[in-house]
Every structure is written in structure tokens, then in C-alpha cells.
């Protein structure tokens, strides 16, 4: 048996010589720590809030022995909101990792290249021009995001091949156009409607129900599992199309699959509560540096996204308990600050 130097600590899951998985110690520890933090924050979020409920009462409600009011607050209001934040955070982060990997550029993430702006446009058209309710708004946002993605890919592809920088530039352009269209739609509305719509545009998970959560959950889990299966082919694509092709990869098929999964995840994560900006671009970069891995570390990325969005939601509800902020405002602040710090740190290294 030869012994190989992996340059880091690894352990094998399964049989020693033919393991099921070779895992990184650092990555596993980081993932574990993140999930502990997520659970702790989720419990804190479910057990505290503006309603006067003690942790004891909340626990009673969780195990099904609470009174009607406590049960409603904890089980119907807080629990789905917490779970939704975790699910959407993970979905957005994975979607960001997929697009950043595809474009080979941290700027190539769905929030930068216009997909979330497109979702907002779809939602605005339904809310303000067609007068639809929340279910219709979700559908509009879903369609808006997917349609925008198609337009961006169509405009940026050349002979059927998608190129990173071109995609980013086209995406930023489309995003800017849609943003001004969003402003124009908002200006046509009455003040009350415009405020409601703006609130959606900043990402507002209050009033999320189990029905919404379950609807999103089904789709997101399918896409998340698919992205897991696609992670090795996507890693291979990092070494360039020629080499990946020579190594037996059908690059076009992997690209299309990655695009479909990435768009699906972003659209699903944006539709229910509006766009939580910046999670998709920041989480993969934070995770990658935390585990010191090459570009695609899906496990830590999902955990980072989930923690970021949950943290943002907890903060948004508690900064001004009387008028909670939209979560999108907080994600931009947290994600943006951390991103800025990372960029400055990278800049210093060079």
C-alpha cells in the first residue's frame, strides 16, 4: 500500500481501501461547527421574540403540549420562518457556488447577474399590474427569475457556449435594465401598494406558512440533491473544457444541468419571500476560505448560507422589535461587510 501526502488531514468513510468518501478533516469540522451554530440560533429564534412567551412554554408547544396561543406563535409563525431561512439560505448559497464555478468568477453569482432582480420584476408585475395575491406573486417571481435567466444566457451565449465574463457583463446590464423597470412599475402604484411591494423586494419572511415552506421544500431538496450528484463533474470542469472533455466528460451536458439546477434553486429561493440579496455571492466565498478548498465546497457552502440567512433574519426581527426590518437589508449589510473585508484581505496578500 502506498501512502499519499494529501497536504492536509483526511479521513476515509467506509472500507479503508475502497472508501465511500474521502473527507477533509477541516471541512468536516467547519461544517459541524456551522450546523451546531445553526441549530442553536434556530432554537433561540423559536424560543424568543416579541410575543411574551417563556422558553418553558415554547418547549411545551414544541412537544405538542402548549396552549392554543403559544402553539400558534411557536409552531405556526416562528418554526416555518426559521426552517425557511435555513432552506433558502442553503439553496441560494449552492446556487451561487454553481454559477461562480460555471463562470469561474466570484461576481458570476445569480444576485449579481440579474436573476433575483428578474424575480422581483415578475413579482411586481403580478402584485401591482395584475393585482394577484401571495400565491400568484410567488408564481410571478418564479417565472420572472427563470425568464431573466434565459434572456441572460441567450444574450451571452455564442455558438451555444457560455463564457464567464460575457455572462457577467450581460447579466449586470440586464439587471440594471430590470431594476429601472422595477422603479417605473413602483411609481405607477399607489403609496400603500408600493410600500408592500418594496417590502417584498427587500426580502420579507414574516407571515410564512407551512404551506409555503413545504411547497418550496420539495423543489429545493430535489435540486440540492442533484447539485450534490453534479459536484464532481462540476469540479472537473474547473480545469478547462479541453481537459475535461479529454477526461470523458460531456461538458455541454454538465453545463446545462448546472445551469438548470442553479436557476431552479435561485428562483425557488427568491419566490416565497423576496430576494435575500448577497447570500448567493458571499456564502460560497466565505465557505471556501473557511475550509481552504478549491472553488466548490458544497457542504460548507450550504451551511454558511443557511447560517447567514438565519442570522440575518434573527437580527432583522430584533434590531427594532417594534418595526422589524426586511431581511434583505440585513443580508446586504452582513454579507457586504464580510465580502468587503475578504476582498481587502486578499488585496493585501498580493
Amino acid at each position: 500500500m502506498t501512502s499519499l501526502d494529501f497536504g492536509r488531514k483526511v479521513f476515509r468513510v467506509g472500507r479503508r481501501v475502497r472508501p465511500f468518501l474521502i473527507a477533509d478533516v477541516r471541512s468536516t469540522v467547519v461544517c459541524g461547527a456551522l450546523w451546531i451554530a445553526i441549530v442553536a440560533l434556530a432554537v433561540y429564534s423559536a424560543f424568543s421574540g416579541s410575543a411574551q412567551i417563556t422558553p418553558g412554554e415554547a418547549l411545551q408547544a414544541l412537544i405538542g403540549r402548549g396552549d392554543a396561543y403559544t402553539s400558534m406563535v411557536v409552531l405556526e409563525w416562528r418554526a416555518p420562518r426559521v426552517l425557511l431561512a435555513v432552506l433558502l439560505g442553503a439553496s441560494l448559497a449552492i446556487s451561487g457556488a454553481i454559477f461562480q464555478n460555471l463562470t469561474g468568477n466570484p461576481l458570476g453569482s445569480p444576485d449579481v447577474i440579474g436573476f433575483q432582480t428578474g424575480s422581483y420584476t415578475g413579482a411586481l408585475i403580478v402584485m401591482l399590474l395584475l393585482g394577484g395575491g401571495s400565491a400568484e406573486t410567488m408564481a410571478g417571481a418564479l417565472l420572472g427569475g427563470i425568464a431573466t435567466a434565459f434572456v441572460v444566457f441567450f444574450l451571452s451565449s455564442k455558438r451555444g457556449a457560455v463564457r464567464g465574463v460575457r455572462l457577467i457583463i450581460v447579466g449586470i446590464g440586464v439587471s440594471a435594465m430590470l431594476a429601472s423597470m422595477n422603479v417605473w412599475i413602483l411609481l405607477t402604484a399607489t403609496v400603500e401598494d408600493a410600500i408592500m411591494a418594496s417590502l417584498w423586494g427587500a426580502g420579507n419572511p414574516s407571515g410564512v406558512s407551512w404551506a409555503t415552506l413545504l411547497g418550496v421544500f420539495g423543489g429545493s431538496v430535489v435540486f440540492l440533491l442533484a447539485s450534490l450528484a453534479l459536484s464532481r463533474p462540476m469540479r472537473l470542469m474547473q480545469i478547462g473544457t479541453p481537459f475535461a472533455t479529454a477526461l470523458g466528460q460531456n461538458v455541454r451536458v454538465v453545463q446545462v444541468a448546472a445551469i438548470v439546477i442553479g436557476i431552479g434553486l435561485t428562483a425557488l429561493a427568491t419566490a416565497p419571500v423576496g430576494p435575500p440579496w448577497f447570500i448567493a455571492s458571499a456564502a460560497p466565498q466565505i465557505a471556501r476560505r473557511a475550509v481552504r478548498s478549491d472553488r466548490l465546497a458544497l457542504g460548507p457552502t450550504a451551511a454558511t448560507g443557511a447560517l447567514l440567512l438565519l442570522l440575518a433574519d434573527v437580527l432583522a426581527q430584533r434590531i427594532y422589535p417594534d418595526s422589524p426590518l426586511p431581511v434583505g437589508i440585513v443580508t446586504v449589510s452582513i454579507g457586504g461587510l464580510y465580502f468587503l473585508w475578504l476582498l481587502l484581505r486578499e488585496g493585501k496578500k498580493r
Partner: protein, 278 residues
Amino acid sequence: MTRLMAEKAALGYADKLICEEVTVEIPDGAFTVIVGPNACGKSTLLKSLTRLLPPARGRILLDGRSLHGLPTKQVAREVGLLPQGPIAPDGIRVIDLVTRGRYPRQRLFSPWSPEDEAAVAGAMDATGIRHLSGRMVDELSGGQRQRVWMAVALAQQTPILLLDEPTTYLDVSHQIELLELCRGLNKVQGHTLVAVLHDLNQAARYADHVIAMKDGSIIAAGAPHDVISESLVASVFGLDARVIPDPESGSPLVVPRWNHGSARRDRGGPREEIGDQR
């Protein structure tokens, strides 16, 4: 009939054909070198011999079957390619990059086998990078990096290996090192090798079989002694040169003509050692 061949293949891109009609057989178990001036279609031919570039007309055959009709991973277990300018992902380690060469032999739920381990170790030993295994690829020198890429292609363990200008960007000692490695792979391990090289003298020394191309067509193919001649160098490269036996290897050595008198005299060398040329 050899394992890998092109049959009346038209090669190029959607709007521009580079090779109108190429028929070529890659001799099994030999070290073939393709030479020719820039933009003569060398790389295009090499790309078409993997799945990178499907022919517009004609066929590329692997064991008598159309290469582009075979399952991609099956082709990748038979024919490997070291392309020009591969990209090393940020923050990747040598071992992780070399392991990617195992892709065509790995399955989703069995990502690592003793064969993988042996192949990765073997590829790193053959290229002399075993001691760099745990290092970051970004930290390596150009020569070391090219050896890492070579190891990726070797880890693929294909009986046929194509190399697109593997010596470009290497200094001369690393060039020779890489060619010696190729020679060993061919002579000792029996791999069929095909390389695009710029240096005619290196081609003449190391190749068993030389293919000379110009303007998308094959001008000559055969043993270096038969192919590399003064007239071929003149017609393919437009270069006026003498071809003399290489004092070391006996292979043809291309020496471009010098029309300016003695070099040493012009550069102020000791005059008394040189007879008057004029």
C-alpha cells in the same frame, strides 16, 4: 489499420475548415510527433483525435469505430490528451489535481479505489512530483506545474496519449526532461504517444514517426530519417537549412543556413582561430 486513425476527415470550426481532407494512421506503440508551421492544423488534428472536435466530414476511428459515437468515458479510458493551457483552479493541491485524471474510471459512490491510489502515486513518481503532492499548485514553478499536468494525463492511464505542445513555456532542461519522460513511457511502458512539437531537432531525436503538416494537409509522414530533409524543411517551413547527422543521436539535425560570415568573428571572437571566410 491502426487503433487510432482519421479517414478522409474534414476538420475545423463551423465557419472555417482548417483541414479539407486528412487521412492519417497513428502507428500503435510508437512515439509520433506532428510538426509544421503555426496555423498549419497540427493542434486541430490532435483535437479531432480526441472528442474535442468532431469532423465536419469523414470519420475519426478508434479500433474501427467512430470516436464520436462511443460513450465519452469509454473513449477517455483509451485516449488521453494533455491540452494547451489547462487551468489550475485556485487553491488546489497537487494531489487533488492529479486525482482528477482518474475521473473516467471513478463512479459516483465509489470515488476511491486501490487502483486510483496506485495510479496517482505512479503518475507522480513518473513525473518526479511525489514530494510536491501536498503543495498548492499556485506555489509551483512553470516547469513543476507542467509536470503536474503531465501527471494528470498519466493518472488517466490510457494506452494512447496525445500531447499538444507539451514543451511550450518550459526552459530547455525541462523540455528535455519531459521528452525523456515521454520516451520512457513509450519504450518502457508501451504507450502510443502523439505530440505536437515546435522544435524539429527534438522531433527528429525522439520521434519514431514524424508527420509534417502545412496548410491543413499532411505533406509527409514516416521515420525521421525519411521525412526530415533539406527539401522538406524548405517546402514546409520555407526555411533554407542544412540537414546533417546529429553528433549525439545520429538523427537528422536541422541547421539553418547562416549568410553573414562567421558568427564568432562578427561578435569579436578571437580572429586567429578562424580562417578567412570571404
